[in-house]
Structure formats: structure tokens, C-alpha cells
Point group: C2
Chain length 269, copies 2
Amino acid sequence: RAAAMAGWARAVRGLLLDVSGVLYDGGADGGVPIAGSAEAVRRIKASGLKLRFCTNETQATRENFVRKLRAMGFDISVAEVTAPAPAACRILRERGLRPHLLVHDDLVPEFAEIDKTNPNCVVLGDAAENFTYANLNEAFRVLIGMEKPVLLSLGRGRYYKETDGLKLDVGAYMKALEYACDVQAEVVGKPAKRFFESALVEMGVPPEQAIMIGDDIVNDVGGAQRCGMRALQVRTGKYRPSDENHPDVKPDAYVNNLAEAVDIILQQL
Amino acid sequence: RAAAMAGWARAVRGLLLDVSGVLYDGGADGGVPIAGSAEAVRRIKASGLKLRFCTNETQATRENFVRKLRAMGFDISVAEVTAPAPAACRILRERGLRPHLLVHDDLVPEFAEIDKTNPNCVVLGDAAENFTYANLNEAFRVLIGMEKPVLLSLGRGRYYKETDGLKLDVGAYMKALEYACDVQAEVVGKPAKRFFESALVEMGVPPEQAIMIGDDIVNDVGGAQRCGMRALQVRTGKYRPSDENHPDVKPDAYVNNLAEAVDIILQQL
């Protein structure tokens, strides 16, 4: 692995880290850290490399998300997190859009400053228990009632794993509304190019000097590579052995976990 | 209109009628008959033309569906109805499939004779209030747990109108599961060719001597035409003026309602 990365890892100046499945494994109980990952984050910060956490998390505000991670022992602050909800708020403001929200209750405060009267778009997040028949029909009616429906989807994941089993992710509900309304959703979050680019700008590092580390072959690895970054897939979180035969996406390297990735990268500097 | 149909309507020997939006308009209150349609059904039967009701209804057993229509004054029997659930049961038996059902409670009795232990496929209908977050996740887990997921969808409608507003139809949920499991559903019901063909066989009339009459430009008109039938669109039910500019489908003629269609067809005989 070190050999495979030798050519390009020397130029690295910044790392983008996915969070769920890389730093910790989520679950109804709040989740548990992945062995060695808290120490790996400290080593990145001590190395002088720039660091940014790039997540599609939409079940909590960044404040609560960061609080949970700090309680697990991670050195992380709100200012270091790139997440879909704040990115969506920027888009809503730029385009004068007033959202009807179908999101998790705990995400609603991220939209506190946004005008939500007389909606002219729908913002869809991983609403979990809020994905009721009534709420989906309501979001659908808002969309189909528009002359030109606008649907912003916070990520496009298919599903994720929690301690009590697999759950449909926001992407499945996005597809339901896309089909019913004959509209194409605009994805805010990974793998959207604009989302990675905003994380790079915030970090102050060009794509060719940045590495994305994630567990999702499509949304982390494929998305980052399309922006000109290198990307590593960890064998933790939602990683499955079949990912290594993905028809379209091939990571620049595989690593067993974040700790191993940081070992290899720091050796190259 | 009569002129437009003159060439081919003389050869007609059988009619396929859609039900919701052609015979009656549905709703939480049970629905109301469309003016002149009960008399039109009687006139078809008196004419000697073969007749079959071809519906994607999956919110009730055929028995209860027919009972409701008879109470509205329609001359209709269970043996005259082609519907997705019995067609699905034939497919399940032929292929040794044991379904996990995500359907309306009132449809479950149609599957009474089918082995549902240790499921090796999912059957999706318009489950309405049964489309809960928990039930969708459960159907998803059954599918994703299969080596080669099999999803049968009873129709693929986008949405329909009830007295209290628009509702997402089974097709939206089909798309959600298709995306999450990376699988293509097999549609049982209109517009599937096999479904129309079974109705024609039951009626004993070849496609070139049959006319489909429906309110759905894609599922009724487009589907029937792909089987070699002529198809009329009524301007009742879910008909919208924009249907007349549909990019792919053009009915053989438009009629204001079923009564007018029957007037014109019987004049040609």
C-alpha cells in the first residue's frame, strides 16, 4: 500500500475525512468510536496537515453532532465540519428559495434563519421516523403544485446500517419524489462536486494536494476523484468486500482503517 | 371523432374498460359513478360485444371492489375483472416464489392460498397507510438480504387523486426500493404487456379486434397500443388537457366520457 501511494502522497497538504464509518459506527445508542481513529485525528492535527470533516450527516445539527463526537474523545469543532444543511442554507439564500422541510426533527434548527413561509421548494434529508405516509404525501403535494418543482436532497445515499438493522437512506425517498413529480433532485452533500469544492476552499487546499478518506465507494471515493482529489477507501463502516469489484470506481488505495491511512500518509511526508 | 374511428371500429369485437376514472371517481367516501357510465356498461353487454374490466386496483379484493361497483349500479361480476393481485398469484405459483407482502390490508385475502413462509420475493401494492417507515425498511431488508432480489410491483402509477388530495401511488415506492436495492421491479398490471394479453385471452378476442378505454395516457392508452390494440382516452378521471400533448403516446381517439365512447362504437357496428 505504501508503495502504491508513494508517488503522490508526498504532495499532500490536506485531508478530508468522512465521519460515520471512519471515525465511529453510528446506532440508536449514539454509536461507538472505531479503534485508533481518535488518536489518528490527533496525529493529523499535530502533523501540520490541513484537516476537514466532510459528512452527509443530516440527523442532527452540527453542534449536536460535534458534541457527540467530542464525548467519544475526538478533537473536532463545529468550524471544521462541512455538512449538507449549511450548504443547503447558502443555496436557499442565493436563489431566494423558501423550503418545505422533510427532515429529521433534530436538523430543523439549522434552518432557523431561513424563511419557510409559502414554500417554493422542498428540502429532503434523512428524516428517519418522519418519513411517514402523511409527510411524504405532503412533500409530494408541495412539489407537484409548483410550476417548476425544485427538490434539494441532502445526500443521495441508498441505505445505512444501524445497530438494529439496515435503514433506507434519503436517496430512496428522493427517487420516490423524483418519479412521482417527474423532476430531477439537486443533491447537496457528497457526491456533489460543489460540496467537495466548498470543503476544499474552506481548507485552503487545491484538489490535487488533498486526499479524501471514506467508507463509501460511490459518495466518498467516486465523488472526491471526480473533483481531482485522491481518495482512499477504509475497510470499516459500510465497506463491503464487493466494493473492491465496483464497475465504475476504483480508490487510489485501500486501507484497513483510518489509523492505518494516517500511518502511511505521515510516513510519506 | 366518429369519422376518425370509422376505418377500424367496425372490426371491433371486444372492449377493455379501465374502472377508476372511467366508471367512477374514487375517494375516501367510496367514490361516485361518472354520469352515464352504468348505462353505457349495460349497452355494451346488450350489443353482444365482449367486455372485460381491466384495472390496476389493489386496495381491495376483487370481491369487495365488485360489491362496491354493484352498489353504485354497475352490471359487473368478479369473473369479468382482470386485476394485478390474481395475476401476481399466478406468477408466484409458476415460479415457486414466496412473497413478503407490502400491500393494503384489504388486499391480503387475495394471497390467502399462497405460501408466505421464508420469503424469496417482495410484492408491492398501493399499501396506502401501510407505507410506514417501519414497513418500508422491512420490505427493503427482505430484498437486500436476497442473493438476487425479486420485486413484483402491482402497477407503477405515480400518484392518484382522492377527495382529500393527491396521494403517492405504488410506483413511487417501487422506485425507492429499486434504487436502494439496485434492482429492477417486474410490473404486474397495466402497462405490462402480459397483463393486457391475459385480459384479451380471458375475453377471447385478438388485440386487433379490441379497444381499450381508459383515463391514463401512459398505463391505459400506451400500454394497450403496445399490445396491438386501439385505445381511447376519456376526458374523465385523471385526464388532464396536457395529456393531449404527450410526447410519446397518442390515443386513437379522444372521447368526453365512456357514454360517448359507447355511442360512437355502437354506431359503427
